[in-house]
């Protein structure tokens, strides 16, 4: 179980409230697909992923990125119970999507980089540390139902 202090929870929620999901939605998933191109293996039916701009601008990437970020935002609201929050998604990613959980760690770290990119100095080392716990908790929770 991941433990957050009250201050960490407040700081995490406060920053997340400022995340423009519409703007960020293409970025995290898009950067994952650009920086770690092998992750494109899960998105064969997404159409044009042939260049950086094609990936970032791809409407399916943006739509899926929004799903992912919304789900993440839901986790931020339930930091005491990542495993419960992600139980169904974990089963889905294992049984139907067959996604190696390593990809959740990669995406989590890309999200942290995107937050740093957006918020600059406001994304202090302490705030980053809190978010590293969030993304690690989320990744572990998404892997929890794997068998």
């Amino acid at each position: 179980m991941v433990h957050f202090t009250a201050e960490e929870k407040a700081a995490i929620a406060s920053l997340w409230a400022k995340v423009n999901v519409e703007v960020a939605r293409g970025e995290s998933l898009g950067r994952l697909l650009v920086v770690y191109p092998w992750t494109q293996r899960f998105f064969d039916n997404f159409g044009n992923l042939y260049s950086e701009s094609a990936i970032i601008g791809n409407p399916k990437v943006q739509a899926h990125g929004e799903k992912v970020l919304t789900s993440f935002g839901n986790a931020v609201k339930h930091m005491e119970d990542f495993k419960g929050t992600f139980a169904k998604l974990s089963e889905l990613h294992c049984d139907k999507l067959h996604v190696d959980p390593e990809n959740f760690r990669l995406l989590g770290n890309v999200l942290v980089v995107v937050l740093a990119h957006h918020f600059g100095k406001e994304f202090t080392p302490d705030l980053q540390a809190a978010y590293q716990k969030v993304v690690a908790g989320a990744a572990n929770a998404l892997a929890h139902k794997y068998h």
């Binding site: 920086v35 994304f123 980053q128």
Partner: protein, 142 residues
Amino acid sequence: MVLSSKDKANIKTAFGKIGGHAADYGAEALERMFLGFPTTKTYFPHFDLSHGSAQVKAHGKKVGDALTKAADHLDDLPSALSALSDLHAHKLRVDPVNFKLLSHCLLVTVAAHHPGDFTPAVHASLDKFLANVSTVLTSKYR
């Protein structure tokens, strides 16, 4: 993972923009790493790791200088980093998993300080660069 000519161009441009801040960024990345990944502190029991520590600043400069040198020798990283490679293999013996953690924090630092320049392509090139440097630094481990 091979650096393409586009990667090399991106890396050189990025380091041009980083310029004299490499030492500061090295220190900031270390601080981010110690806070975000506390297990990394086990390699520095002899350091004061509090915010603003002179030892962390000095060590950050070492890291920044080494990466700047590496960026200047992209066509021959093993040669340029040979001494550091020996040091990490025979003396420091930092577990390879930690290079990814510091690399991640270096990317976070650069992203935070260069919002306009840190495009996805540059992000990818820098990630590859740091992975290559990490591979060289652990190449003599066994």
